[in-house]
C-alpha cells in the first residue's frame, strides 16, 4: 500500500465509518506492528495482546485524528510504543512486588541491598529465558543478535528496529520517540556501534 492509498483509506474510513477501509489499514500494518512489539516485549502472547490493543486504539481514535500518511505511520507506532512502555512499567512493578513478597515471606534478607540483588537476579533469569530466541518462532534463528539487541537501552533498541527492520525514515522515527531528526541519527549511530561490539565479544 503506497502513501496515496493509505491516505484514501484513512479519509474514507473517517467519512463513512466503513470497516472495510479500516481492514485495509489493519492488514497493511498488522505484521509490522506485531514484529515491532514482539522485538520489544520478547513474549509472543503478550505481543499479540498488545498488538490487538494497538489496533483497537487506532479503530477507536481514527475518526477524530487529523493525519496524513506520514504522520499516520508515526501515530500507529507511537501507540504501540506507549503500550510497550506501559507494559514494562507494570512488569517492573509486578517484579518489585514479587521480590518484596519473597523478602517478607522468607525473612532471609537482611537489608534493602539484598532486596535489590533479588530484583536483579529475577530480571536476569527472565532475560536469559527470553533471550534464547525460541519465543519468536522458527523463522528467526539468531539468538545472539536478539541478546545483543536486548542489551541496548530501550531507546537505542527501538531506533534500530524502526530504522533497519521497519525501514522508517528519521523524521518519522523522531516523531515516534519524541526526538529531533538529528538526535535520532545520533542514537542510531551509538546503537549500531554498541550492538556490533556486543556481537563481536
Amino acid at each position: 500500500m503506497n502513501d496515496k492509498e493509505l491516505e484514501l483509506c484513512i479519509k474514507n474510513f473517517k467519512k463513512t465509518g466503513d470497516n472495510s477501509h479500516f481492514e485495509k489499514i489493519y492488514r497493511f500494518f498488522f505484521k509490522k506492528i506485531y514484529r515491532f512489539v514482539l522485538l520489544n516485549i520478547s513474549d509472543s502472547q503478550i505481543a499479540e495482546s498488545i498488538t490487538s490493543d494497538v489496533f483497537y486504539n487506532i479503530y477507536r481514535n481514527l475518526a477524530k485524528a487529523r493525519l496524513n500518511s506520514g504522520s499516520f505511520r508515526a501515530w500507529v507506532y507511537k501507540i504501540a510504543r506507549n503500550l510497550i512502555i506501559d507494559y514494562h512499567r507494570k512488569e517492573a512493578k509486578f517484579k518489585q512486588d514479587r521480590s518484596l513478597e519473597q523478602y517478607l515471606g522468607t525473612g532471609q534478607y537482611d537489608d534493602l541491598n539484598e532486596l535489590e540483588s533479588v530484583d536483579k537476579s529475577l530480571i536476569a533469569a527472565d532475560f536469559k529465558e527470553k533471550n534464547t530466541g525460541e519465543y519468536i518462532g522458527s523463522e528467526f534463528r539468531d539468538p545472539e543478535l536478539l541478546a545483543g539487541l536486548n542489551s541496548l537501552d530501550e531507546m537505542q533498541k527501538q531506533v534500530l528496529i524502526l530504522r533497519f527492520v521497519e525501514e522508517l525514515d528519521y523524521k518519522t522515527i523522531g516523531r515516534i520517540i519524541d526526538k529531533s531528526e538529528l538526535a535520532t541519527r545520533a542514537i542510531k549511530f551509538r546503537a549500531i556501534s554498541k550492538l556490533k561490539e556486543l556481537m563481536t565479544k
Binding site: K31, L39, Y56, Y59, R60, N61, R66, I161
Partner: protein
C-alpha cells in the same frame, strides 16, 4: 576505526545502497566495516518475523466485538455532533475563522471612525470620512427619501458653520471658504428639486446668507459670482434663480426687522454658535 568512515558507510546504507556495494567502497576498512555490515544484515533478517495468520483474523474480529460492546459506534457520530463544523474541512476552517475575525475587526474600526467623524469640522482629519459617508448615503438612498437627506445635510453644513464661528481658535480660511461653497451647492440642489416650501425657503435663505456673511467677514473671503443665493441680506448678489416669486419674497424678508428678532442679526452674535446649530437642526430636518 575512523568514525567518519563509519558514518559515511551508514549514510550510504541510509540512501538505500546495497550493503555489499557499500563495503566495496571502503577497501581499506573492509574488515572493520564487515562486522557492522553483518550486524545490519542480522537486523534486516528480523523482517522475516510474522504473526500467526489465525491470530490476525481473530484479532480483527476481537476489535470489532470490543467496539460493539463498548459502543464505539459513537465514534462515527462525533462529526455529527458539530454538524455545522462537520461540513467544513478542518484545513479550511482556520483561515475562514481568521478571515471573518479580520472582517469583524475592520467593521468595528470603520464604524468607530465613522462615529468619531460625526463631530468633525472642515479642515479636520476625519472630515473627509464624514463627507464620504454622506456621499454614500446619497448614492444609496431611494428617491422619495432624498429630500430629508439633503435637508439634513444642509442642516449639518450650517451647524458646522455655527461651530466654526463659535470657535475663536478656528483659523483655517480655506476650510471656511470651502464650507461656504458646500452650503451653496447643497442649498442649490434643495431649491432646484423644490424640497423647500415658500416659508421655509425664505427662512433658510436668510439664515444661509447671514452665516455666509459672518464667515466672509471673519475670514476676509471675497464673494464669487457663482454664489447660488439669489439675494443676500444686503441685496448685493446676483440673482441666479428664475423664480420671481422667491425673488420678491427675498427682497422683502431681507429687510432688517425691528426689535432685534431678525435671524441674521441673531446669527451675528459670535458666541451663540451652539444655540444656533441646535436651532438649525431642529428647524429644517424632516
Amino acid at each position: 576505526m575512523n568514525e567518519k568512515v563509519l558514518k559515511k558507510f551508514l549514510s550510504l546504507i541510509d540512501k538505500g545502497m546495497d550493503i555489499d556495494s557499500c563495503l566495496s567502497k571502503f577497501p581499506g576498512e573492509y574488515q572493520n566495516l564487515k562486522e557492522y555490515a553483518e550486524t545490519i544484515k542480522g537486523l534486516d533478517n528480523l523482517k522475516d518475523i510474522s504473526a500467526d495468520k489465525d491470530f490476525e483474523e481473530t484479532s480483527l474480529k476481537d476489535i470489532y466485538f470490543r467496539a460493539r460492546t463498548e459502543d464505539i459506534e459513537g465514534v462515527k457520530k462525533i462529526p455529527q455532533k458539530n454538524a455545522i463544523l462537520a461540513g467544513l474541512r478542518p484545513a479550511y476552517l482556520k483561515p475562514l475563522i481568521a478571515f471573518f475575525a479580520v472582517l469583524v475587526l475592520i467593521g468595528f474600526s470603520f464604524t468607530g471612525t465613522l462615529y468619531a467623524s460625526g463631530d468633525s469640522l472642515p479642515g479636520d482629519i476625519l472630515y473627509p470620512v464624514k463627507r464620504t459617508s454622506e456621499n454614500i448615503q446619497v448614492a444609496f438612498t431611494p428617491y422619495k427619501y432624498e429630500k430629508n437627506l439633503y435637508l439634513n445635510i444642509l442642516d449639518t453644513r450650517l451647524g458646522e458653520a455655527d461651530m466654526i464661528l463659535s470657535r475663536a481658535d478656528f483659523k483655517d480660511t480655506d476650510a471656511a471658504e470651502s464650507l461656504i461653497g458646500d452650503i451653496d451647492d447643497t442649498y442649490r440642489i434643495c431649491r432646484e428639486r423644490k424640497y423647500l416650501g415658500a416659508d421655509e425657503g425664505e427662512k433658510l435663505q436668510n439664515e444661509i446668507t447671514a452665516v455666509k456673511d459672518r464667515l466672509r467677514n471673519r475670514y476676509g473671503i471675497q464673494k464669487h459670482g457663482t454664489d447660488s443665493i439669489p439675494n443676500d441680506a444686503s441685496g448685493n448678489e446676483q440673482n441666479t434663480d428664475n423664480n420671481s416669486k422667491n425673488d420678491t419674497q427675498d427682497t422683502g424678508q431681507n429687510e432688517p426687522q425691528p426689535g432685534g428678532n431678525n435671524k441674521t442679526e441673531n446669527k451675528n452674535q459670535p458666541d451663540d454658535g451652539q444655540q444656533n446649530q441646535t436651532g438649525n437642526q431642529n428647524q429644517y430636518a424632516r
